[in-house]
């Protein structure tokens, strides 16, 4: 059997990596690396699920790792990258309400608040290990950081990536605190894939009538085989 201390150390390193990727997603202006960082973050979650599976041996964890890998590491990033290639937006420079710097500083505050809030709950429920408590804090913080990305960016693609980050936070929380039934996990993934499909529509523009919209899709060469000139 694997040494628990070793597992704890490894999971903590993964937590730190998750925070680093989240900070990058909040502060970057480069859209191309944003998607790969999102994929990396999802991959870290896969590793976490696999580690927990190695310790606890519950098959649900393995299934979660499997579908997360398929959907969030392979399909969704691939899809968003292909949209990006077609609409040729490389950078996101416009922000609502918060600049990346302020978002970073606010997220420190958020983490502190979440930590304080959760530690009160943890005091009442005895017997929670520090790792699981830590996982819950990071999970909710990741959700909040994703939320900040969603409302502080103007581009639809970044908004969607913020939403996906939020979902990663939910998954992280679910991995460590409550065990979500597998069917819910699966439905969430399907929702996400539909959401990313909808991104195409959002990216090209919701403000149009259906006829105009059709023309726009042609203009951006979306869903067509030929390349943009």
């Amino acid at each position: 059997m694997i040494d628990p201390a070793y597992v704890e150390g490894f999971v903590k390193i993964l937590f730190v990596c998750v925070i680093v990727t989240a900070a990058y997603i909040i502060s970057t202006r480069n859209l191309l690396t944003l998607v790969s960082v999102y994929a990396a973050q999802s991959f870290i979650l896969v590793l976490m699920a696999l580690t927990l599976w190695a310790v606890e041996g519950s098959p649900v964890l393995l299934a979660i790792a499997g579908i997360t890998f398929l959907s969030k590491v392979l399909i969704i990033p691939y899809f968003i990258t292909s949209i990006q290639e077609k609409i040729r937006i490389k950078r996101d420079l416009r922000f609502h309400f918060l600049s990346p710097t302020t978002s970073l500083i606010i997220s420190i505050g958020l983490m502190l608040v979440i930590y304080i809030a959760l530690s009160r709950i943890a005091q009442e429920t005895t017997g929670t290990s520090s790792l699981f408590f830590f996982g819950a804090v990071i999970g909710i913080s990741l959700m909040m950081m994703g939320m900040m990305v969603t409302f502080s960016r103007k581009r639809a693609i970044t908004k969607v990536l913020g939403y996906l980050t939020m979902e990663n936070g939910v998954l992280l929380f679910g991995l460590f605190v409550t065990e979500l039934p597998f069917i819910i996990e699966f439905l969430i993934i399907i929702d996400l894939i539909i959401l990313v499909l909808l991104t195409t529509i959002l990216t090209v523009g919701l403000d149009s009538t259906l006829e105009e919209y059709h023309q726009r899709i042609h203009r951006f060469y979306l869903w067509e085989d030929e390349e943009a000139p």
């Binding site: 730190v16 900070a23 710097t101």
Partner: protein, 313 residues
């Protein structure tokens, strides 16, 4: 003071002075490679320093004593600071040497005098350089303090010697927060040694230079001392990063074979880090001055996180 410690003082100073120019040239070489040039030899900085040391010093008319003592204060402060960061061999600390707060203030002292000297000659470029350097310092200072506070928090000590001894005995990545500390220290290294994206060490373009602007009026052996102290600063911050994150090879008990191995290992690790710095610099464009705080905010974010995480777990 034990014999070991006196030996340490001599060895450490010698290594720092001898190795620093090499790392500077190595960074330049890597940058040249990425631009498709052959670049100067890795010993070029030694040649430049020797050449400068032979040249006479010319002072601007109207410059005061500040101009004359600045190179000496600079090299003095940095050589003393060099004693605080063991490169290869960590002895028992003696008489407050190794205190991290004192270390920071020694660096600040050197920087303060450099800024004064920039103003002293009365040239407009020097003044611009000093003004920019001080603005950046004012912003980076809280971040630096938080990063070093986080270091002190993680290693439960204010002494760099103790930190290195702890990291040398506990091995690679003993606490995961070291990843975050590594990122923060790297950002501080980039800012403090005036590298891209904060400042460009190669430029003498009046619109962008910061560090070069301040030493524009220095000449001859004074310039050599300023260049050498900049190189020493780079080596010290690199050594801090290396010996905290990848401490293997660092010896705590003095032996001839161990020392040689430790020095060679340090050279290898330092060269790798220089290559990383070179690649990092080449992969970025210089940032607009008013966007710099976002870079510092990154370091601030990570170091605050370190403190939070250390409280959590």
């Amino acid at each position: 003071m034990s014999a070991d410690f006196i030996l340490y003082l001599i060895i450490n100073t010698l290594i720092v002075v001898l190795v620093s120019p090499l790392f500077v040239s190595l960074v330049k070489k890597v940058k040249a490679w990425t631009q498709g040039r052959r670049g100067p030899s890795v010993f070029q900085t030694y040649f430049t320093l020797i050449k400068l040391l032979k040249k006479e010093v010319i002072y601007a008319t109207g410059s005061s004593w500040v101009m004359r003592i600045t190179p000496l204060v600079n090299i003095g402060a940095l050589l003393v600071a060099a004693l605080f960061v063991p490169l290869a061999f960590v002895p028992e600390p003696v008489a407050g040497i190794g205190n991290i707060i004192l270390f920071l203030y020694l660096l600040a002292l050197a920087k303060f005098f450099m800024a004064l000297a920039g103003l002293d000659a009365g040239s407009s470029f020097g003044g611009m350089g000093s003004s920019r350097e001080m603005s950046i310092s004012a912003i980076i200072e809280p971040t630096t303090v938080i990063v070093f506070a986080a270091l002190a928090f993680v290693f439960k000590s204010l002494n760099i010697f103790d930190m290195f001894a702890t990291s040398a005995t506990s091995g690679f990545l003993s606490t995961p927060t070291l990843i975050l500390i590594g990122i923060s220290l790297f950002i501080i290294l980039i800012v403090e040694t005036s590298r891209i994206p904060v400042d460009n060490p190669e430029t003498h373009l009046e619109l962008t230079m910061i560090h070069e602007g301040m030493i524009l009026e220095q000449s001859g052996r004074n310039l050599a001392l300023m260049e050498l102290s900049a190189a020493i600063k780079l080596t010290l911050l690199m050594a801090l990063l290396i010996n905290l994150i990848v401490p293997f090879g660092l010896i705590t008990v003095l032996s001839a074979a161990g020392l040689v191995a430790a020095i060679i290992l340090f050279l290898i690790k330092g060269s790798i880090l220089s290559v990383i710095i070179g690649l990092f610099e080449s992969s970025m464009a210089k940032m607009r001055f008013f966007r710099l705080p976002s870079l510092f905010a990154m370091a601030f974010f990570f170091s605050t996180l370190i403190i939070i995480i250390e409280v959590f777990a």
